[in-house]
């Protein structure tokens, strides 16, 4: 097919960017909200089209790049492989879901709010598409800045401090990564076009000694670990999730944490294979400590948002451990789980948001008996909560099963300890469901009405995705097969 000059990765990045900038100019709250929703649907359309045309390398820009900074050999190089398509797809699905579910929330300066949301989407798309290291760094930061403003401007009471902590953490990590990127760049093999290059292929072929790989590994990994977050770099996360506005929390936990995992698979494993083999155990142990630690803390939480935040740390810990088992099945599980976790946790946030909007309370101890008043909401919640603890037939089961089987073949003891977190997850999740939704109705919940049709619809979509992928995971697994193989080629 002739190249028509329309490439999906470009569209996925530029469309939200332009839509976001356009959003800033709008004055009217309703208009900007509708525009944001509309544009996010178009982005979803583009993403779906890119899935349908998966076999067409021209349209997915596998070979395309523009020269950007000629003296340093930076190219605007983007492409979509299976993993990229999966995560851009997640981003594209998440935004309309977020916009619809928070449609009733009203914001001061709504146009700025939605504009920043769309800019964040553009940055995320860029991270998942970039095949040039410096471009990747650009988008990595660009996704952060709008989120910083969103949280600080529209968040809860302690938003300024919490967000600032988050910002400083991630910014420090990114700068260390920048140093690493430049170092690798200077060790890439000269080509006919330029002395050095930031392109992914050049990075894979960079000449690095084992010692160099070892410390470069940590420069990169700290940046990614902060983003994921992996223990002990996680302390920003519960505060930020608690304080950020609901829509932003969904972006943060549903998509942004995947940036870290994605980056490990895309940029860490293939570039520093020797160091990865050297430090795999260290990372796995850190991740498992994080899982248990976060699960234990989650049990103690009385605030719904903090509970979900800690449970997210535990889930991410499992994913990061599974990546470093360096086994195909584990990696597949991670891919699958990145998508599932995004869907599930956004569902959780939507329900918490719906509860909080009606009652103004997030304390587990102060809520109770919601099920009598809002049966539909409760059914949705139970499904999502079960997916959260990876019950069979839900999407998370598939991913967790694959990751655990990979961990088991890596080391039985580590896998057993990690397995405890499943039990703990069941404890805190079911405890939460029981206390908030069943039990006696307390005065605050007596006035709760069931959810509106658009909220029903959006939760139903999420529940549908949960079941469909739980029963029929093959399409996703097929999609990412190539990426998994590519990520592991240097370890076989």
């Amino acid at each position: 097919m002739q190249n028509l000059g329309i490439r999906f990765p470009d569209l996925l990045i530029w469309f939200p960017l332009i839509a976001g900038l356009a959003c800033f100019i709008m004055r009217d709250e309703k208009k900007s909200r509708a525009w944001a929703l509309f544009s996010s649907f178009i982005t979803l359309g583009i993403s779906v089209a890119s899935w349908l045309n998966a076999g067409n390398p021209e349209l997915n820009g596998l070979t395309f790049s523009y020269e950007w900074l000629k003296y340093s050999g930076v190219n605007f190089a983007v492409s979509l492989d299976g993993m990229g398509r999966l995560l851009t797809g997640l981003t594209a699905i998440a935004f309309p879901v977020i916009f619809i579910s928070t449609y009733r929330n009203s914001y001061k300066n709504a146009s700025v709010f939605f504009g920043l949301m769309l800019l964040a989407q553009s940055g995320l798309m860029g991270v998942f598409c970039a095949t040039d290291a410096l471009l990747f760094y650009f988008f990595w930061e660009l996704a952060l800045i709008p989120v910083y403003f969103l949280c600080s401007r529209w968040g809860g009471e302690k938003r300024i401090q919490a967000t600032f902590k988050f910002f400083i953490y991630t910014f420090t990590g990114s700068l260390l990564m920048l140093v690493g990127i430049i170092y690798v760049y200077l060790h890439t093999v000269p080509t006919a076009f330029s002395e050095h290059s930031f392109s992914m292929r050049a990075f894979h072929a960079a000449l690095l000694s084992p010692t160099e790989q070892n410390w470069l590994f940590w420069l990169f990994f700290i940046a990614f670990a902060i983003k994921m977050p992996v223990f002990p770099f996680h302390t920003w996360q519960p505060d930020t999730y608690e304080q950020a506005p609901a829509a932003t929390t969904m972006v943060l936990s549903g998509i942004m944490v995947k940036m870290g995992l994605f980056a490990v698979i895309r940029w860490l494993l293939p570039v520093f294979p020797l160091a990865v083999v050297h430090f795999d155990k260290a990372v796995i142990i850190l991740s498992v400590i994080g899982m248990i630690y976060a699960s234990l803390l989650a049990m103690k939480q009385d605030d719904l948002k903090r509970l979900v935040a800690y449970s997210s740390i535990a889930h991410i810990g499992l994913m990061s451990a599974a990546i470093f088992t360096l086994k195909e099945v584990g990696m597949q599980g991670v891919m699958f789980q990145m998508f599932s976790h995004g869907i599930n946790i956004i569902g959780m946030w939507i329900i918490i948001e719906l509860l909080e909007r009606q009652t103004g309370i997030r304390k587990i101890s102060e809520l109770g008996g919601v099920a009598h008043k809002a049966p539909v909401l409760t059914i949705m919640l139970v499904v999502i909560a079960l997916a959260n603890i990876a019950l069979p037939l839900t999407n998370a089961f598939v991913g967790e099963f694959m990751m655990f089987s990979s961990l088991f073949s890596y080391n039985v003891w580590i896998a057993t300890i990690a397995g405890i977190s499943i039990i703990l997850a069941a404890v805190y999740t079911l405890n939460m469901v029981q206390k908030v939704f069943y039990g006696e109705t307390v005065p605050v919940t007596a006035l709760i009405r069931d959810i509106a049709w658009h909220e029903k619809f959006i939760l139903a979509v999420l529940v549908l995705i949960i079941f469909v992928l739980g029963v029929f995971p093959k399409p996703v697994i097929d999609l990412t097969l190539e990426s998994v193989k590519a990520a592991l080629t240097r370890f076989s």
Binding site: Y71, E141, I145, F167, I168, T172, I182
Partner: protein, 450 residues
């Protein structure tokens, strides 16, 4: 071979003449760079030397001064009645800037530095009724003359020490062997005096007081164009005269850089006054620019020009807004976004650029510095230290952003009558320039490759 152009020295030049003169010189520079043919030749016996690197820098400095005049021209009147004299003094400084950018002998370097410094002493003290301004001027003058003395001594040592017996920095032929004692002493003395001029630690103590005491309009000029010009001289001096001995003085520079970064950034964190904070931040930024001196390769030179542009633009913009503020503390910025959304937006862009966030010129500049330093291959710890300090800098720059956007204030925070639409648009242009340079830094770097 030519001087950046003939400079206007008349005393009653109003704002427009100043701007017009600048434009003319700028055009002359551009034409010369493009065609490679000088327009006006003055025989200076090869004591000044212009190439694309020097001329690009002069253009950057002139361009920034132009913006500075446009933004601050009206604020000169608030300092005192002698507006035309201030302009004349600034033109003298620009003359000095051109000399230090093109100097080829140590004598010219000395001359240039002095032509920059003496008008600066006057400008610092120009607010005669203000005690702080007088104190700052005296302090600056005493410390400055001391460093000048050290520089002269250094030059004398260099003259006596090199086998060629010359002041010409290119002809000294110092070789790369262990350096003779005389040269060593000369080098250290020159390094000390230049470190003083660029306010590198531990010779930075004058900076906060002088920047704080001087009238804000002139602090702006001092912290931006004068500062980067001194840097440019520093790098050129060490590259041409001592480039071959780099391995012997590099560790010393690394230590100075590290100290500057740490002191500048850590102290800036604790400042309540934005003006003082910017003084310390200028020390911190100097630390980053010192990386160019440390690395001293082609990347470093390109990066320095870019850094000069990025840093000057952001600093001039920030100070232009600061001049209009009622209250110079961080709290004084509270609620600015409600009252002056456009100004708040531009200030945000300036601060993001100083922090080094991608898509701003500041990022490209920092990127080049890190690149150069890593390329150099020695003292890798310095690079890690530099980025950690950059992370600290985010802390104090973002405090202003927080104040503007996330905190409320019912009172007006600016002198409203001062803010004309043209001022706003100029600030917007400055901010757009920063972003454009952040996306296409080649707009500046291309000039270096003519």
């Amino acid at each position: 071979m030519m001087l950046g152009g003939a400079f206007i020295k008349d005393r009653r030049t109003p704002v427009y003449l100043g701007i017009g003169g600048l434009l003319a010189i700028l055009a002359a520079c551009a034409v010369e760079l493009k065609t490679g043919r000088p327009l006006l030749v003055i025989d200076v016996k090869d004591m000044l030397h212009a190439n694309s690197f020097n001329l690009t820098f002069i253009m950057v400095a002139l361009g920034c001064t132009l913006l500075y005049f446009l933004l601050n021209g009206r604020d000169f009147e608030k300092v005192g009645p002698h507006v035309s004299e201030y302009f004349a003094l600034i033109f003298f400084i620009l003359c000095g800037v051109s000399i230090v950018a093109t100097f080829n002998t140590l004598l010219m370097l000395f001359l240039g530095i002095e032509i920059i410094s003496i008008p600066l002493y006057i400008l610092t003290g120009s607010d005669k009724r203000n005690l702080k301004s007088n104190e700052a001027a005296l302090k600056y003058f005493l410390m400055g003359s001391f460093s000048t003395g050290i520089m002269l001594l250094g030059i004398a040592f260099m003259y006596g020490g090199n086998v060629m017996g010359t002041f010409f920095i290119n002809n000294m032929n110092l070789g790369s062997g262990p350096m003779p004692a005389l040269i060593g002493v000369g080098l250290v003395l020159l390094m000390v005096s230049m470190s003083f001029k660029v306010s590198a630690a531990p010779f930075h103590f004058w900076t906060p007081d002088v920047y704080d005491g001087a009238p804000t309009v002139f602090t702006s000029f001092m912290a931006s164009i004068v500062k980067v010009a001194s840097f440019f001289a520093f790098v050129r001096l060490f590259e041409s005269a001592f480039g071959t001995l780099q391995s012997q003085w590099q560790t010393l520079v690394a230590v100075i850089t590290a100290a500057t970064l740490i002191i500048g950034n850590l102290t800036a964190v604790f400042q309540q006054s934005v003006k003082r904070m910017l003084a310390y931040s200028s020390i911190a930024q100097a630390g980053f620019m010192l990386l160019a001196l440390f690395a001293l390769n082609d990347t470093a030179k390109e990066g320095l020009v870019l850094y000069a542009a990025a840093y000057s633009l952001a600093t001039i913009g920030l100070f232009a807004v600061l001049v209009k503020m009622k209250d110079y503390t961080v709290d004084g910025f509270n609620g600015l976004s409600k009252q002056q959304p456009l100004l708040a937006l531009t200030v945000t862009i300036f601060l993001l650029s100083l922090t080094g966030i991608p898509l701003t010129a500041g990022f490209q500049a920092k990127f080049y510095m890190l690149w150069a330093a890593i390329q150099n291959g020695h003292h890798f710890w310095l690079v890690i230290l530099a980025v950690l300090c950059a992370a600290i800098s985010a802390y104090y720059y973002f405090r202003i952003i927080q104040a503007m956007y996330f905190r409320e204030n019912s009172e007006t925070v600016m002198n409203e009558w001062d803010i004309t639409p043209s001022f706003k648009y100029l600030l917007l242009i400055t901010a757009v320039l920063i972003i454009v340079l952040g996306i296409f830094p080649n707009l500046v770097i291309d000039w270096l490759h003519y």
